[in-house]
Amino acid sequence: MSRYSHQFDPQINRIYAKLTQTFSNPSSTTDEINRALESMELIVPLSDRNVAQKSYELFHVVIQAPVSPTYSQDNKWRASRLTMHGAYKWDQFLPWVGDPDDILTFLDHHFDLAAGGKNQDKPIKNQDEPIQNQDEPIQNQDEPIQNQDELAIQNALRALAYASDPVTIEALKRFNPTKPSFISGICHVFQGGRPFELRKAALFFLPLIGDGWFNTPDPIMAPDQMRSLCADWASTVDAIEHSPDVQKATLMALLWMINSPRWHSHIVADKWELLEYFPSLPDDSQPLKRCLDNPKLIDEIRDVRNPAAMTLWMKILWMKYKELAPGVQKQLERVTKDVAQGRRRGDLETYQSAIEAELMKAENALTQYNTWSTEPTAIALRTKIENLQSAKFVLVSLKRG
């Protein structure tokens, strides 16, 4: 549609200018507000870049506009839901979130509503949802019916999860997600009956608040709730196609859980195998660093029922051997010796082949650069190769006893 957009951009601009004027003007009449809301209901389903961008800008205007006798609180949330839908309903264009505060306020409010089971107004016509006659009840029973609040939450989560710029990601790290309504809201969206897009957005959002969620001094929820959330998270992971982005998001969430003594025991056994997505993670991944620096982790993972967990984790540790803290290195060597002397001696070959494979990949990548290249990527590759060669050397020495 975007290729035609220049033909109707002037009219879209005119409509949004009028909407902005209406909502930012404290003396707008009730009729003007109602007309604006009616028009927004009509225009926000249009999948167009300009509509998305303008809706995002209007969202901030709407949410920051002071409440007045004509612009009630209900109207404010209704308008914000519509703008959020206009901005983030379409996969092909999502406006960058420059400032997450308004969206977090919006999300928090709708988590409150979802927790209270309040559904304020009629649903926005979703793109994938057939338009029903208003005189007839909605009869499609096969798909979960997405109410207004869920759609609002979905759009807000999509905004934060898919379109956060670096400033927003930093702001989210400072955000405290342990408010009870926020916690119950996140648990709520992961539940099996929720729409797929909502669960998917939540899956991508969770790693962004992982530090504040999993790394708390006090428990933020009861063990039963934790187990339930882990199970819901696992079923969401199963329901989704594992693209590179999904691999990264799921592994980050898993690493946050692994690093938390309260959470790792609730991880669904077969989800430990997500560790095999390790190469998809960037080197500076925060949860990975935390896990690698955690000296207790090896022993804890040994106790996991799924034997693949230990094998995969050991592989990761060997590949990062040179970056580990001395204490963790010692522990790794000790456990490797145990493995060499035990029944799973063959695992050592697996570690070695993983290192060799990664080494070969790095060497191939380095061939793209000049021998004396001073580019940061080339330097990083040389360092990586050195580290892997050192790790291989240590591993081979341990194998020989």
């Binding site: 109707f8 009509l42 249009l46």
Partner: protein, 453 residues
């Protein structure tokens, strides 16, 4: 005679006074003055006859050009022919051609007069015979001319009688023609006056930079509440289409022929001429397409195509009446509304275009009705046409201060959510509806009267 005169002049120059026979003036030795007079009239008669022959040859040339056809489709050639026909009517080609016999009649009159005059001096008895016949002929001509002037049904019409009738009693068509001419004349005068005034006063230097904008601190946009359809489509080549359709509706026709003609109505640009299409007759013809023996409204299967085109034409013209019409238009629409029977139903086995057009007619004449847009699957052309029509319906409703019909709202939502997206023209129409709902006046430059051909 000349020699005598020279002699007198030479004598006078020498100082000799001419006397006797020398002093007498010479007598006229040429033909008689009556003969000269008669000869002059006869030459006038001959010239008039030659002029008539000349104009006749020109006329033949003009008719040859009229009969020659250029290349192109049947529609294009038909349009070309209609344009030429209109030109002939506008420039009174028929009248000019009918003036040819007038020239011959004048030549005959001159010949008769000259002959009578000549014979009168030769032999009055012979002259009286010619004068008698001439008088009889004139009297006869005067009488039939008078009869033709007084009665239009008189078969003895001649150009003078038509001209006399024109001056004695203007009919509406002539009045309109004169009014239009006066209007154009006034327009040209006003333009000239304006240009002269502009040349006199000049403008601020900034006007060249700012173009049409007011440079006194604000910009004046050409915003108007008038819908784009009001932009009358009287450009060359478009007007004949609507003229043709209006003209064809003057002839009584059966359903099939009406259907074929109705097919073209939505194709022509919006023009006031289409108002002359009889709305009630279209509605009646559409009603005749239905099988009234059933308990529900259903078009006879054999007439589906015709019903579709007639229904589109009816919607098209009705919307024009509703949007642009005066009190008489409103009364006409109301009278149809009073006797309109619901036509839309779900009995067309996937013929969404017909079904939805009938449903729109129901909405237009019987007020808003629920419509499940999702169940329809229209052709692109029909969708585009519908977008235009619904935009005008929305404009009509919102301009009156009424709330927007639900079916319009649902149409906008349906169109804007379609996958793949509909053509841009449909989206533009939907966005204009959204703008109207918000209170944004339509901008005349945004949506021109679309050439739907």
């Amino acid at each position: 005679m000349n020699h005598t005169l020279l002699k007198i002049m030479a004598s006078a120059a020498l100082g000799n006074v001419p006397t006797g026979a020398d002093a007498a003036l010479p007598e006229w030795e040429g033909p008689d003055s009556t003969i000269v007079h008669v000869q002059a009239i006869l030459y006038a008669s001959l010239s008039t006859t030659l002029l008539a022959a000349f104009v006749a040859m020109l006329g033949k040339q003009w008719l040859n050009r009229y009969a020659s056809m250029g290349r192109g489709s049947v529609v294009d050639r038909g349009r070309q022919r209609k344009r030429r026909m209109d030109g002939m009517e506008t420039w009174k080609f028929g009248l000019v051609m009918e003036c040819l016999p007038l020239l011959l009649q004048a030549a005959l009159l001159l010949l008769g007069y000259a002959l009578s005059n000549y014979l009168f001096f030769i032999n009055r008895v012979v002259a009286s015979v010619v004068i008698g016949f001439l008088t009889f002929g004139l009297l006869f001509y005067f009488l039939i001319g008078s009869a033709a002037t007084l009665s239009y049904n008189c078969p003895f019409q001649t150009p003078p009688s038509l001209i006399l009738r024109f001056f004695i009693r203007f009919d509406n068509q002539h009045r309109r023609y004169l009014k239009r001419s006066r209007k154009w004349f006034g327009y040209i005068l006003a333009r000239m006056r304006k240009r002269r005034q502009k040349q006199r006063t000049g403008g601020p230097d900034g006007s060249r930079v700012f173009g049409a904008y007011d440079i006194n601190g604000h910009i004046e946009l050409d915003v108007t509440s008038t819908p784009p359809l009001f932009k009358r489509a009287d450009r060359d080549g478009y007007q004949p289409d609507s003229d043709c359709i209006a003209w064809m509706f003057e002839i009584p026709m059966d359903i099939e022929v009406t259907g074929v003609i109705a097919r073209f109505i939505p194709e022509v640009p919006w023009s006031p001429v289409t108002w002359t299409i009889p709305l009630e007759r279209l509605h009646d013809v559409l009603s005749k397409c239905f099988d009234h023996s059933l308990t529900y409204a259903r078009v006879k299967p054999s007439l589906r195509d015709h019903a579709y085109f007639i229904a589109k034409a009816l919607t098209h013209v009705t919307m024009q009446h509703k949007c642009l019409g005066d009190k008489s238009s409103n009364a006409m629409v109301k009278s149809i509304s009073d006797r309109h029977i619901i036509m839309g139903s779900g009995h067309y086995e996937g013929d969404s275009d017909l079904e939805v057009t009938l449903s729109i007619i129901d909405c237009v004449f019987s007020g808003p009705r629920p419509m499940d847009w999702q169940k329809f699957s229209f052709t692109g052309t029909h969708h585009a046409w519908m977008g235009h029509i619904i935009l005008y319906h929305a404009w009509d409703i919102l301009e009156k201060g009424d709330p927007m019909d639900n079916y319009i709202r649902e149409f906008v939502l349906y169109s804007l959510q379609l996958k793949p997206p509909p053509p841009a023209i449909i989206i533009v129409d939907c966005l204009f509806i959204v703008g109207l709902a918000l209170g944004i006046k339509l901008h005349i430059n945004d949506l021109l009267a679309a050439d739907k051909r």
